[in-house]
């Protein structure tokens, strides 16, 4: 591992541990005081935790879809120009070696998808009024509700991620099993690493990956549809909403994976690693353009049609009290700066990594700006003034406890990632 990567790895261990420890107060606050320390209420019933959920679940779906580039679409080689070659084009010299590295990125993507999913589920679980009744979502589902479908989709997705990851790591686990008890346990007794067995694994991975593409789209599309179907909220109630969710998932997940690959990818600093980063950077740039296009479509149609139902929320996003969240954090740090980095400095590894990190981190504000402004417009004029009490307001800013619980979930996901990266054969440099 290159020097910069190992140093950054150590910094991220410290950051994740700090987030976990500091965030424990948020967890304590939620367990001890229920929802009374949170600022969402009855008129803005969903707040930071729901935004964090759709943010992290988007990261997961996006990272997963990137893994399918390797397992389904068979992209096995990235040239210096950032172009790709599939095996059908012919395996040139060293292509087999290259293929192995890209498969490692596939595993990295799967593992990233898994830990972000865990973080997302913690946030939404804590958001429930009765977390101990969460099992009803799976066993007493109403399929008239989009949310019911989503629950089943992501349960299936969770299982699929675990199986895919297990299959992708199996051969290495078998090789490690002589010295690692964890690896011995994780192979679950299947130690056949003959060429036919590995080919069978690969075939199964390809099938699962193909199913996964559909499942990830259905699953994150249904997350968007949860919002899209709510006719009472004109800002959400659009057929474009699930599509924007998917594009956002691809962008934010791809950006996160780009950043993760820069530090924890195979052989950081090597020529092939640079090629890979250039390739990922270009995909992210393309997805950024797509996302901006869809955002423009959504905002421009609503603003030009002049119907206050929908434009009221968008005016709140653009010119409301929290205008800077959109203009400075999202447009400035999440679109313009990364776009410049990816177009002007795209050959520099740090620039691509930074662009990925900026997009991935600032995307939380995009999710917040979907959830909150849709709710912050009173459904009947004067409703928010008709009665007073905690939560009977349309002004929402997450409380400290809410932020800390989110930080804890991120810290936990980060620690799982770092521990997994260390203990599991996700990336290994031994030849």
């Amino acid at each position: 591992m290159a020097k910069y990567a190992s140093r950054l790895n150590r910094i991220f261990w410290i950051l994740a541990a700090a987030a976990f420890v500091v965030g424990l107060y948020g967890l304590y606050s939620r367990v001890a005081f229920g929802h009374t320390r949170a600022n969402y209420g009855s008129y803005v019933p969903w707040g930071l935790w729901v935004a964090a959920y759709i943010y992290m679940i988007g990261l997961s779906a996006g990272a997963f879809l990137f893994s399918t580039l390797v397992y389904v679409f068979n992209i096995h080689r990235v040239s210096g120009e950032g172009t790709v070659a599939a095996p059908a084009v012919g395996l040139a010299d060293g292509a087999a070696f290259e293929r192995e590295r890209l498969e490692q990125v596939g595993k990295l993507a799967l593992f990233t998808a898994l830990v972000t999913l865990v973080g997302a589920l913690i946030c939404i679980w804590m958001d429930l009024g009765h977390p101990l009744r969460a099992w009803k979502l799976v066993f007493q589902t109403s399929f008239r509700s989009v949310m019911g479908w989503m629950i089943w989709f992501y349960s299936a997705y969770f299982v699929l991620l675990l199986v895919e990851l297990w299959l992708a790591m199996r051969a290495d686990q078998v090789a490690w099993s002589s010295k690692s008890a964890l690896a011995r346990f994780l192979i679950l007794g299947r130690r056949d690493v003959s060429a036919t067995a590995l080919a069978a694994d690969r075939r199964l991975l390809r099938i699962l990956g193909s199913v996964g593409v559909v499942l990830a789209i259905a699953f994150h599309g249904s997350v968007g549809a949860i919002f899209g179907v709510v006719a009472a909220r004109p800002y959400w109630n659009s057929a474009l909403t699930p599509i924007i969710f998917l594009a956002g998932a691809l962008l934010s997940g791809g950006a996160l994976l780009t950043f993760v690959t820069a530090i924890w990818g195979p052989e950081p600093g090597s020529a092939s690693h640079r090629n890979l980063m250039g390739f990922l950077g270009q995909i992210v740039l393309g997805l950024l353009a797509l996302d901006v296009l869809l955002e423009w479509a959504e905002f421009s149609i609503a603003l030009w049609n002049g119907s206050p139902g929908e434009s009221a929320s968008i005016r709140l996003v653009l010119f409301g009290q929290y205008w800077w969240v959109f203009w400075i954090v999202h447009v400035g740090l999440g679109v313009i700066v990364p776009a410049l980095l990816l177009t002007v400095l795209w050959r520099k590894l740090w620039a691509v990594a930074l662009a990925g990190a900026l997009i991935a981190v600032t995307f939380l504000t995009v999710r917040l700006n979907i959830v909150v402004p849709g709710l912050a417009i009173p459904e009947l004029p004067g409703l928010e003034a008709a009665f007073t009490g905690p939560g009977l307001t349309t002004n929402y800013l997450p409380s400290l406890s809410e932020w800390l619980l989110f930080v804890w979930a991120v810290g936990l996901a980060g620690l799982i990632f770092l521990a997994g990266r260390r203990l599991l054969p996700i990336i290994h440099t031994e030849k």
């Binding site: 009024g129 629950i151 459904e379 008709a386």
Partner: protein
């Protein structure tokens, strides 16, 4: 009560009844006077005229509240599926006293942040040419409720009476229904208490432990006594107006109806053609909120 049940129930009937009682009373007085004039003057002072209370003279149904009570009993005798509970709010009679809001809070033991029937206060014009309009907003009990199909665990539905109810033991508290209601009629019980942060007892003084007794007493929503404690339901649940189903079941009108000082809120079975509400919703000056959404509310406003 048997007398009042036999009493006429249409408006015309009520008027006829009233006229009849009045006529009889007048005739009686006149007859008394005539007979007194015919008799020779007596030595003892004349007996004090019999005082008859005016209210007893009028049938129970002469007042909207009494009439609705009788009609409620009649509706309850029908099979559930044949009833159509409807609320009519006469905005011309609403003075914005908020008594209904508070009666509802008291009836259902609502904690801070939970409200079933706020009264929207609209100010029209600019000073000094100002007038105000008040719009009480209970749950609309939509015939096509957008809040029920979104529930991922079947915890809320429209019951046989057409009232949208919540099963507190099934609700997981995801608050999706809160976002889906176009009227903001659902609120969530986040577990707040009025007495939180107030001083605990000092020796000889009643402190928080005694003062908060009133917010621990059971509410009888949906006919089940539930005390507020810990994180038990209804804490953590979506809550909403249910037309006081627990009162209706006992033959009582919803709390907001009985408490309204101006008889501005009417309640009854719209499937009963002789009922007060059936009469009112056939008026031309009737409207429903957000009619364009196709939710078919069962709450009508008279303008």
């Amino acid at each position: 009560m048997t007398e009042s049940e036999k009493a006429p129930t249409t408006r015309r009937g009520v008027l006829a009844g009233l006229a009849g009682t009045l006529g009889a009373a007048l005739a009686l007085t006149a007859a008394g006077r005539r007979s007194a004039a015919a008799e020779p003057p007596a030595a003892e002072p004349p007996a004090a005229p019999e005082v008859r209370p005016l209210v007893a003279a009028a049938p129970l149904t002469s007042d909207a509240l009494g009439r609705m009570h009788v009609e409620l009993a009649r509706a309850l005798a029908k099979p559930r599926l044949e009833r159509r509970w409807v609320m009519v709010i006469d905005l011309r009679k609403c003075v914005g006293c908020h008594a209904c809001t508070i009666a509802c809070v008291a009836e259902n033991k609502l904690p801070p942040g939970v409200v079933y029937r706020p009264v929207l206060d609209e100010e029209i014009g600019t000073y000094p040419n100002v007038t105000r309009r008040f719009i009480p907003r209970p749950c609309m009990q939509c015939n096509e409720p957008p809040c029920t199909p979104v529930c991922p665990v079947n915890a809320t539905w429209k019951n046989d009476d057409g009232i949208v109810v919540v099963n507190y033991d099934q609700c997981i508290g995801c608050r999706y229904c809160l976002t889906a209601c176009p009227y903001g009629a659902r609120t969530s019980d986040f577990g707040y208490t009025y007495t939180a942060g107030t001083p605990l007892a000092q020796p000889g003084i009643l402190g928080q432990e005694a003062a908060d007794d009133y917010e621990r007493v059971a509410s009888f929503e949906y006919g089940k006594a539930r005390e507020r404690k810990g994180e038990e339901s209804p804490i953590g649940n979506a809550r909403k107006c249910h037309f006081c189903t627990h009162r209706i079941a006992e033959g009582m009108l919803p709390s907001c109806v009985t408490t309204c000082i101006g008889r501005a809120t009417l309640f009854g079975d719209a499937n009963d053609p002789d009922s007060l509400v059936a009469e009112m919703i056939a008026k031309p000056n009737v409207m429903r909120l957000k009619e364009e959404m196709g939710t078919e509310p069962r709450v009508y406003y008279l303008l």
